[in-house]
Amino acid sequence: MRDTVDKDAIVNKFMTAAGRLVNDEMQEWLNRGGRIIGTYCSYVPEEIIAAAGFMPFRMRAVGSDSTELSDVYLTHLNCSFVRHSLNMALKGEYGFLDGVVTTTCCDHARRLFDNFARKESFPFIGMLNVPKRNTEFQVEWFYQELLKFKQAIEKQFHLTISKDRIKEAISIQNESRRLQKQLFLLRTDKNPPITGTEALAASVSATAMPASKFNALLKVLLKELPTSGGRKNYRARLLILGGILDNPQYIKLIEDQGALVAADSLCFGSRLFWENVDENEEDPLKAIARYHIVDRPSCPHLLDAREKHIAFIMDLVDQFQIDGIIMERINFCDNWGFERFMLRNTLKEKGIPFLSMDREYLLGGTGQMKTRVQAFLETLEGDL
């Protein structure tokens, strides 16, 4: 009986953490004098931040309800996540952060950096130039970027980040990745003990808690979860594909229509934990550079890696017995707009049904979304 309570409590903890900006574990970290640096993209190496003694926190705009302040600096043609996030920064709602780091991965994030830099919104503001190609030359370039990033943190906060600390941080993050992948793989089962909603909540929580704390929670959850006997009688197994979807309620809305979201390729999902950083590499920064530019499943920003990403999606389709794919995209996102345009031909050729859904960062238009998902599921049932 106690096992069930623990399992539910941990799942609830993850759901709550994903629905809030500051969760209990983060608050505890802050109360103990811990410091936090926010990251705007999965290409920001959390390991370097953790090795400096900070908790890396993946930026979300959860709780935002307007863009009245950020609309002065950005337009309605900018990504709504960026607009909401800048608005929260301008309102001081990220006051718990000692710094933020963005990347060059999208036009909108670059404007976020410009605005932060101009307003001096945080004590530390960094941006990493993530290359668009993935040869050895680009690995070297990104390695140099990581070196500069490390030195910038050392200078700003008057500290030294040792090689051993980075290796230790890699080890902890790799453990987190392995555990998350283990949880993710449970949904290969016909009746998985965890839903897509809960799985996304877990991976969002991984970006919002001290890694060792998250790992401890997830270990308990994995121990107590059965490997099967969970969700039954669903109408179809879906894969969600897209960018920064950080709201498990979006997945819940899909699952409430009778689907099982069995897998994903999202910036807050499987792409974060599918591969590990090489712990045997002598230079840990080199290992991190290689992980991001070559090894891990990439987003559309990395142009040379497209074939690999398609192969990754197709592997998920096979492994998780996917019936259909929902491709979600925040309006005005060129990266995922073009990716969707290209992928539709591939999916058609392979006979995989798909549904394209545009969205704003805040969950809205739910009535229309339900109708579209229901119609998609009916189509799939016709095919099954």
């Binding site: 036009d107 030359f137 060129d334 345009f341 290209m342």
Partner: protein, 277 residues
């Protein structure tokens, strides 16, 4: 070779010749300039047509991909943004309706959508080599990825240079290496060697064009403004986008003509445009 593309490209080129000839008959000085400007575009197109007919190699590339290299290597090239925009002269407004049918989100840059339409509508010749653009926006790199969806474009070699975001010494070295790699790739694929002395000559000419561009823009601060807003864009095209003028003395002469006209307007305190009331 796709005969339909050749036919359409010839139509676009003829339209440019026709406009150029009409403008040449106008007594207005700016029309005279525009006649030469459009003729330069048509001249570049004629070289692409010749390449298509004779089976010679030509590139698809961009103004931001170091076009001086192409001039120095005597390589013919074009940018599909031109046929994308000029296609409306041949097809009429239906171009926009056809563009909207492409299943690419309508909030994505209109130029990129029009360029895809120029590919789908057989207005953009399939080159021998594509030098992809990866800057300045997210869409442009992905546009090149999207080209691989189209027959013909799927099978051609693609060269690309990764642009650094920064402007420091390390970034310059990085991009320099990328440009050298691209040049090596072009040498290998076309069999044409890059002569660095010839490149220096081209850059000297190109720098003259850039210097005049700065001078031209400075003079536009005058009140009344001596030239209308789109005139500056013409220098951009002459110095960077029209293959027959990039790094060529003919391009320098064209910009000189525009600059001289502007200076005369400044001296006479004349406005290059009229305020509509």
């Amino acid at each position: 070779m796709n005969e339909k593309v050749l036919e359409n490209f010839i139509k676009l080129t003829h339209a440019k010749h026709m406009v150029s000839e009409l403008l040449a008959q106008s007594p207005k000085r700016m029309d005279q300039f525009d006649s030469r400007y459009i003729a330069a575009m048509a001249e570049s197109d004629e070289r692409i047509i010749a390449c298509m007919r004779e089976g010679k190699p030509f590139l698809h590339s961009w103004y931001f991909n170091a076009p001086e290299l192409y001039t120095a290597m005597d390589l013919d090239w074009y940018t599909c943004s031109f046929p994308a925009v000029f296609a409306v002269n041949v097809e009429g407004p239906s171009v926009f309706e056809e563009t909207d049918k492409i299943p690419l989100d309508h909030d994505i840059c209109t130029l990129q959508r029009l360029m895809l339409r120029s590919i789908e509508g057989d207005f953009a010749p399939v080159p021998t080599i594509s030098v992809a653009g990866l800057t300045p926006c997210d869409g442009i790199g992905l546009f090149h990825e999207a080209l691989k969806q189209y027959p013909g474009w799927r099978d051609i070699p693609v060269l690309e240079m990764d642009p650094p975001y920064w402007e420091d010494e390390a970034a310059l070295r990085y991009y320099g290496t990328e440009i050298r790699r691209m040049a090596k790739g072009l040498e290998g694929l076309t069999g044409k060697a890059l002569d660095l002395d010839r490149l220096k000559q081209v850059l000297e000419e190109s720098n003259k064009q850039y210097d005049m561009w700065v001078e031209y823009n400075d003079a536009r601060r005058m009140k009344p403004c001596p030239h209308p807003s789109f005139s500056g864009d013409k220098i951009f095209n002459i110095a960077q986008s029209i293959p027959s003028t990039v790094g060529h003395s003919s391009g320098t002469e064209l910009i000189r003509a525009l600059l001289d006209d502007e200076m005369e307007m400044v001296r006479n305190k004349k406005a290059g445009w009229k305020m509509k009331k």
